[in-house]
């Protein structure tokens, strides 16, 4: 494979190179890459902003993460936060730090993924920073979005009796991570090539997640305004706890309503793991968790991408999970708490 040293371009040559095919898709993008800052005009709509830091060795492992997928995912996890506000992402700012073991070809691959995600989610890359790092690849993405005044959805607006809903299927990304970590260990110990046969679903859920743009479009079309919403990056349990805490409510969750993909369940059983535990505590599904008033039930139940998994209660009733067998357990937050690792 060809290897071009980044030092042959210099910092500004590198920025020119990485942004030469950068397109502008949003009318609100007035001034983009190439100045001290970008300029955005949201024409009377409200601006939504969110930021995530992704660090090699903490958030991703380059031994099994293709750089193109990593670039794509870095954008997806950020636009997902914008959708979780019921807003539409419009711009991103991307900063990267990389060591001299990176060749230009590697950065090209990473940016291919970034631009593919920008196209998929219709966002403009409008700026950022590039720098060397002593060790490890560092990625910081800030996403900006827009929302009609006062249509944004917070975590704190849920009401007692509201239905708890979730998009898509849960727990897949966690199993994808488990599989890739296992295959990596086997490779390191024995040199055996990874066996990912038949596991494209769970591996894809980890390496190439998508943000639920379709759900936000569905809300707009059907005139649904959730009372609270959050995206699932740390696991269902931890995210639901945030909604409970910020809305000062309790909740009841039904185990038999949790949505799982068949491929996910099959692999979980193979590992003798409980799919429910994967959904509750496994992160990175990037599905949307939201609450709606009971009056929206007839409408919501028609959407095949949404599952109604429980309801909100008064705070005093606590947070519980009703198991398949009908037993009631206290829900515990066991998200992907990086601090406790």
């Amino acid at each position: 494979m060809e290897r071009t040293e980044i030092s042959s371009l210099g910092e500004f040559g590198l920025i020119d190179h990485l942004t030469q095919n950068n397109e502008t898709r949003n009318a609100s993008t007035i001034l983009s890459v190439g100045d001290d800052a970008a300029v955005i005009d949201h024409f009377g709509r409200q601006t939504v902003i969110s930021s995530d830091l992704l660090l090699e060795g903490v958030h991703f492992d380059l031994s099994y993460t293709p750089l193109k997928h990593l670039g794509y995912k870095a954008v997806v996890v950020n636009v997902s936060d914008i959708y979780a506000m019921n807003a539409t992402p419009t711009q991103i700012v991307l900063s990267i730090g990389f060591s001299n073991r990176f060749a230009l070809e590697s950065l090209n691959e990473f940016y291919e993924g970034v631009y593919a995600a920008c196209e998929e989610y219709n966002v403009d890359l409008v700026g950022g920073d590039t720098t060397t790092s002593l060790r490890g690849f560092v990625i910081s993405v800030t996403a900006i979005g827009e929302v009609a005044p006062d249509k944004y959805v917070k975590r704190s607006g849920a009401k007692s009796g509201d239905l708890i809903c979730v998009s898509g299927e849960l727990g897949g990304a966690f199993l994808g991570l488990t599989l890739l970590e296992r295959e990596k260990r086997i490779f390191e110990e024995t040199g055996a090539q990874p066996d990912l046969e038949g596991q494209t679903y769970i591996v894809g859920r980890l390496l190439k997640p998508e943000a639920r743009k379709d759900i936000i479009e569905y809300f707009a079309e059907e005139n649904i305004l959730p009372t609270s919403m959050i995206d699932i990056s740390d696991g269902l349990s931890s995210e639901l706890m945030h909604i409970c805490k910020q809305s000062q409510l309790g909740c009841v969750l039904y185990e038999d309503k949790l949505p799982f993909a068949d491929d996910m369940k099959e692999f979980a059983y193979k590992l003798k793991t409980d799919p429910t535990a994967c959904a509750l505590s496994g992160g990175e599904d990037y599905e949307l968790l939201f609450t709606v008033p009971q009056s929206d039930y007839d409408q919501i139940k028609l959407n095949p991408s949404v599952s109604i998994i429980g309801y909100m209660t008064d705070e005093g009733e606590g947070k519980s999970l009703i198991t398949r067998g009908g037993n009631k357990h206290a829900l515990v937050a066991q998200g992907w708490n990086h601090m406790k690792k």
Copy 2:
């Protein structure tokens, strides 16, 4: 000194702790820390956005950088980019990654500096991300600002004949860095305590820079609209090259017009270094470099914080420096190019 392990709080407890005294200063800040994203309403003004990544070992050295100063500086370098667009900073988003050698007391110190800068520059901290890092302290700041429609100033608007102006004094931060690096080496080799006697000016320029809010206010009061502007983070020469390239012009710079502080000149001579070289190639001064039409001359020359240091020419005339002795040298870009280190 007390040491509280961050793990005793957990990630969300930590965020609550670090943001408990976070105040909102701008009416445009509608929703702040605590959701998937912040919400901003700029009431018909244009939004300006900029981002910087600061990595330990590349951009700062914790052996001689107090964490409080580092927090302050992380905000300053970003609001400086917003001022460089002729805009007013209104919000910042701050993400940090830190290893387990950090105690809560260290993060408190860092955030003290962050909040002090937020107060000084009247900006709201509205969100971000906290995570562990395997090695090194990682800081990413995104600053948001506002500007009246079409009053923002780009790098590309300079015209031939425009005056080149710079705020404040140059080269001090570079000498501060030189001094601190020298004292660190001596300490490592001999154990001798750093001797910073009488060098508070240059050390302050490096460790506690300020952004030129006053210059932007002066422009507004006096109805001056620069034709181009950039902040000096990489050195005068490199920044002026950006303006030349993006405006497709050349320039003439006068060595005897470059502004130096007496303390800076004295230390430069002690080191047998040329103050001009420090100004041209030393970074991190965070002064504003801008161009104005010649018709603004009478007004600009009255501002004691601004020096007129040259003028823009047609592109064909090249980029040159007229030395004190009257010789003409080609200007070369020797900014702090992290890529080439």
